[in-house]
Structure formats: C-alpha cells, structure tokens
Subunit: 374 residues, 2 copies
C-alpha cells in the first residue's frame, strides 16, 4: 500500500498517516454513530478508545452484531509479534480486546507470531523465543479471562496451525502478495508463506468445534493487509469472513509521524521500565506541543494534538472524558505548562506500570495455563 | 531445469531422460567402481540396484563413508508424496533404503509429504489424508526395522518440522526457487514454502540429539532440486550437508519415456492389484521390445532395453544376475518371445504382491508404532 504521502504495510509505517485516505484505500468502513450505539447497547458503555475515535474503522462488524443478537456468539482473535520488549503502544489493542472479552463474555485466541518475527527480523531464533516468553508475561498480566483465553505460539502450535495455513495458502498466489505487501523475489520463502499462518487462528475455533463461529479481530490498521488478502479465502474453505475492528497507531515518543516501535531506541516506554526511567523518557524524549518559552506558551498556548504526553492520556491513561477535556483546554489555552502536563502523564504511567509489573511477575506462574493444549 | 530434450523437476518429468546430461546439469557425481567397492566392503554385497546402475549418482557419499568408518553412523531419510495408490515404481527407492538400513544398521526417517501433495495437486485435503494412510500401509509392509524407523507426516508432525523449516526458509529467496524449480508468481504461497518442509527431516535427528549426525538420502533424481537448494543452507545453520544417492526412474508401462506415475491410468501396477489385474495390465499395456510377428521376432530378436516387462525384472524382480543375463540374451536373440517374457514377469510380480498384500493388511496394526512420537 504505497502513496506519495505514506506507506502502511504490516512491517513498515512511514510518514504522517492520513486515516481518511486509509479508509478509502483499504476499503474499510468508518465506525459511525450507528454502530457505536449498537456496541453500547450490549456493553452498557463505550470504551474510551471507541468514544475517542482511536478504534475508528471496521469490516463487517454489523454482520457480527447481527449474529450476536441472534445468539451466535463470536470469539476474539488478536496477537503479538515477539521481537522485543512490550511498550505502551502495544497495550491499546490488548486492553481494548480485554474490554470486549469482559463485556461480551467471549473466548479470546491470542497468537504469538514468533515465526514472523524470526523470518522478518535480523534476529536469532533463540532471541525471538526469549521475547516470546517475555511478551507472554505482559499479555497474561493484563487479566484476560482464564479458561476463555488461549495463547497460540506459531512454532509450538504448528500441529494445529500449519494444516489450516496450507489450506489458506493454496488459495493465495505470490502475485497477490506482491500487490498487497509489496514483496519481491528477493524475499525469503518463509516470509512469503507467513501470511497464511497469521490468517489461520481466525478459523481455529471453527475447525476445532466443527461448526462455523464468527470471529472479531481487533488490530492496528497496519495489520489489515493480512486479513484483506485472507478474507477472500475463508469462504472458499467454508468459513465466515472474520470481522475486523481497526485502531489508529499510538504516536511514537518522537511525535505523531508513525507507529510506536520498540525497535527504535527511546521511542517507547517499556512495560518493564522503572518509575525513574519513565520519568526520564517522558521528560527528555516525549515530543511536546508546547512553546519554546514559558512566556510564549502562556500567551499562545500549546498544541495537545501533537503532544505525546497528552496523547498517552487520551489513548490509555485518562478514562474520564471530562478530566481529559479540562487538561486539553488548559494546555491549549496556555494555562497548563508542558512540565505540568508531563508530570500528570508520568504519574499515570507509573501508577499503571507499578500494578502491571506486579501482575507480570505473578504471570510467570500463570503463562503455562494460558497456552492452548490440543 | 529445462533443456531442449527433457525436463526434470520434482513435479514434472517429460521426455526421454539423458542421465549423463543430468549428472552434468545437476552437478552430482557418478557412482563409480571405487565408491561401489567401499559400499560393498561394509555391506558384504552390492544391492542389485547398485550392480545394475539403477542407483547411478550421488552427492558426498565419500564423505559419509569416511564418517561411517570413523564410527560416526549416519541415518537414512527418504519419503513418499501421498496423492494416490502406491505402484511398483515407488518401491525401488524404498527397497533399496531397506537394504541400506539392514546392511548398515541405521535409523530411518520416512517423511509423508501430505502438505506437498495437497498444495500441488487438485485434490482435497481429505483425499490426501486418505492416501497418506494407505501409503503408510505399503511402506510399513516393506519390513523396515521397528524402533529404528520413524514416520513423519508433515501436517501431523508440524510441531517438529515447521520450526526447522522456518530456519531453512529464512535462507532461501523466491528468486532461487524460480531458478531451481521454475516457479512463477502465479504459484500458491504454500508451494513456495514447501521445499523447506522437505528439507527439514535431513536435520531432525541432529536437532533432537543436539549434535550433528550425517544423513544419507536415497531418492529418484527428480527430487534432487529440493536438496540442491537446501544443501547450501544446512551449513549456515550449523549442520552437515546431507549426502544423497540418486536412482534413475523406473519406466512407465507405456515405455521408457519418463517416470512411472500413479496418476496416469494403466501406467502403473498398483500394490493392491489382484493377480488377474497384474496379468491383464502386463499383457495389455506393458510396452514391448518385441517384433510385430513371431517370425520377425525369431529372426531379428527383441529389444530388452525398452521392454517394460524385462525392465521390471531388472529393477525389482530378478535378483540373480546370471538368470537376468540369460533372459536378456534369449530375448535379444529371438529365442524368447514377448509372451514368454511377460509370463515370467507376471509370475514374479504376483509372487511379490501376494506376500506384500498380506504384510500390508498386517500393517494396519503396526502403522501407529512407526509414527514418530515427540
């Protein structure tokens, strides 16, 4: 998916992203008032990421809700590419997924794509395995429902996934991948096959249950190409097309120019960072929407739209819309300084991480229980 | 691998094959007197397929024997693509492999490439699974050593094979496959990945034992491209290059124009054929090197080189070189008629199949024991 202004593939996000253009280019639907109302009807509330347009687009969510209303429950499927430590940017999709699981009381299948990261990154198999375990701790720490949450690790659950993946792969040509992912002849043959492994979990519960079960995939928009290609395949194998709900990217520390990435130094706050590290990172690296001097800031006001500290509150850490609005207003007017805004954000992140890190340690004993046993 | 005269890829064999040219094109070595002597030293005899040049080429067999003589035992790896019934053409490689296992007292890893056949053939997943089971019965019936013989089915042993395959796949580009297999952009992405699944078993014992174990792969020459590509990869992963020993193709019923195939009607004698069916097939379809009339045959003699009945005796059913020579001489001189030659071949095939079919039925209870349990 290339344009003159930006590029969004599952492995590259560059430039400032125009989400309106993305909706048109990718052929997804906007999450409009009508569908938000339908979600609210069942959930009794709307998650902050829905209220604030962070989840902004979808495929076939109307159909999924129709089925749900007929008593045909869906399951959730999302995942993690384990190539490094987990940062705050990862958490958005997963916290939203947890909300969906709680509100709709559904199963979750969570895929760790260790094969993908090994095949796409210049890292050893052993290093990827280490990150797979470390990342599982973070996911387990988020409190997904036990007994209703199943971790799949591609190389460890290949007996389950590979036979499904070959059925999907048989229906996808290399030409299609070239067009959708910009792959070339110089790409390795594992990369080329990989998309069918990512497509497989969307039908795993249907394969196991021997009946067709609707699937909802929450993901950041860069992962959409995998399912755009695979969605055409599922019906040919006798399965429903999965529904998808898409989020924007959480801005990187360096500002709203692309996706937050754990591979760029200092571009991310890690879930394992100490309170001091968080404070330093935010103070030193968090892109600010403030003015050069306090005087100027008081006079002209700051810009919360590009301010990374503010965006962290908006994406993750300020649940209360009224409070968020107040902060936004004060910052825009110049009443709140960047240092004051950063202080709030640091406190919120550290409060969250303190709890998360405790749960993450406890998760060492629980991870095994989440792994699917076939 | 294309030339003006013939084409040999793992999925297509066309035209009359020039094995001398194949040795040059594929860059394999001829099985010469010197190396045959080395084999004979250990085996105390030479298998008829070695004596008669049916196994005719190799890669790195000298090195493998060096290691063996140092006390570093190899293991055998061969396989079966389960897309239809087993015919006599399949048996050559396997019977030779059994001989190697018996003489060198080594482990055998036997791969059933159900993924390959599903991805390359216009057949359903279920049909391929059916043939996988049926083919396993034939292989088990050949009497490989229990406890030293391990069946791998790609989709059932993906937990073992896929993690190795991705390590191999990372080192192979699509460009390489295009050059070696003639693949195109319109090929499905499962086909493209597949060669790394076929390459995996050559290091499975080393991976499991966590030490480097030499591997010998007996195969028909059309399978060589898989290993020609993969052999460059193994050392990059810290493993030995496997040695390979190559056979010519068993001629099809219709004559020496290519490989015997179970997908061509009447081109093959199946292991499940009745004595009557064998008789009919040989009488009706086995390409004859005889003359048009008995008078002519008596006068000018027949041509055993192209006679399929004679070739069956040479490949599989006449162990005694002196007897074979006598038949050849009598047929070539015109003393033996085609009907007489066919009678001998029919008797030999039916004697073999009678025993094989008994063992094949018994194998229903034994197949499970051969499947690798990880």
């Amino acid at each position: 998916m290339k344009s003159s202004r930006f590029k969004v593939t599952p492995w590259e996000v560059e430039g400032e992203v125009d989400y309106g253009k993305l909706i048109r280019d990718f052929g997804v639907s906007k999450l409009d008032e009508k569908i938000l109302k339908r979600i609210e009807k069942h959930a009794k509330e709307l998650h902050l990421m829905l209220r604030r347009g962070i989840f902004f687009a979808h495929r076939d969510l109307d159909w999924l809700l129709d089925e749900y209303e007929k008593g045909n429950k869906f399951f959730l499927y999302t995942g993690c590419g384990p190539s490094g430590p987990i940062h705050l940017g990862h958490l958005g999709t997963w916290l939203f997924t947890k909300w969906l699981q709680d509100k709709f009381d559904v199963e979750l299948w969570f895929q760790f794509t260790d094969d993908e990261k090994f095949l796409f990154k210049d890292k050893s198999y052993e290093e990827i395995q280490k990150w797979t375990y470390e990342n599982m701790l973070d996911v387990a720490a988020l409190g997904f429902k036990k007994g209703k949450t199943h971790f799949l690790v591609d190389t460890k659950h290949a007996n389950l996934l590979y036979p499904i993946a070959v059925r999907i792969a048989k229906k996808i040509t290399f030409s299609t991948l070239k067009a959708s992912f910009g792959m070339t002849n110089e790409d390795n043959i594992g990369k080329i096959f990989y998309t069918s492994m990512q497509a497989a979990p969307a039908v795993v519960p249907s394969v196991l249950a021997k009946r067709n079960i609707p699937c909802l995939i929450p993901l950041a928009i860069d992962q959409d190409p995998h399912f755009r290609v695979a969605r055409d395949v599922y019906p040919k194998l006798g399965y429903y097309k999965p529904s998808v709900i898409h989020s924007v990217f959480m801005p990187a520390m360096s500002g709203p120019k692309g996706k937050m990435s754990s591979s760029e130094v200092n571009s991310a706050i890690l879930t394992t960072d100490s309170a001091k590290e968080v404070e330093n990172k935010i103070k030193k690296y968090a892109f600010s929407g403030g003015r050069d001097t306090i005087e100027e800031h008081r006079k002209l006001g700051g810009n919360p739209d590009v301010d990374v500290s503010f965006q962290y509150l908006r994406f993750l850490f300020e649940e209360d819309d009224k409070k968020l609005e107040r902060i936004e207003k004060d910052y825009r007017s110049g009443k709140m300084l960047t240092s004051e805004l950063k202080k709030i954000t640091i406190e919120r992140i550290n409060a969250f991480l303190k709890e998360h890190q405790k749960k993450r340690e406890k998760a060492r004993k629980e991870v095994e229980k989440f792994l699917w046993k076939g």
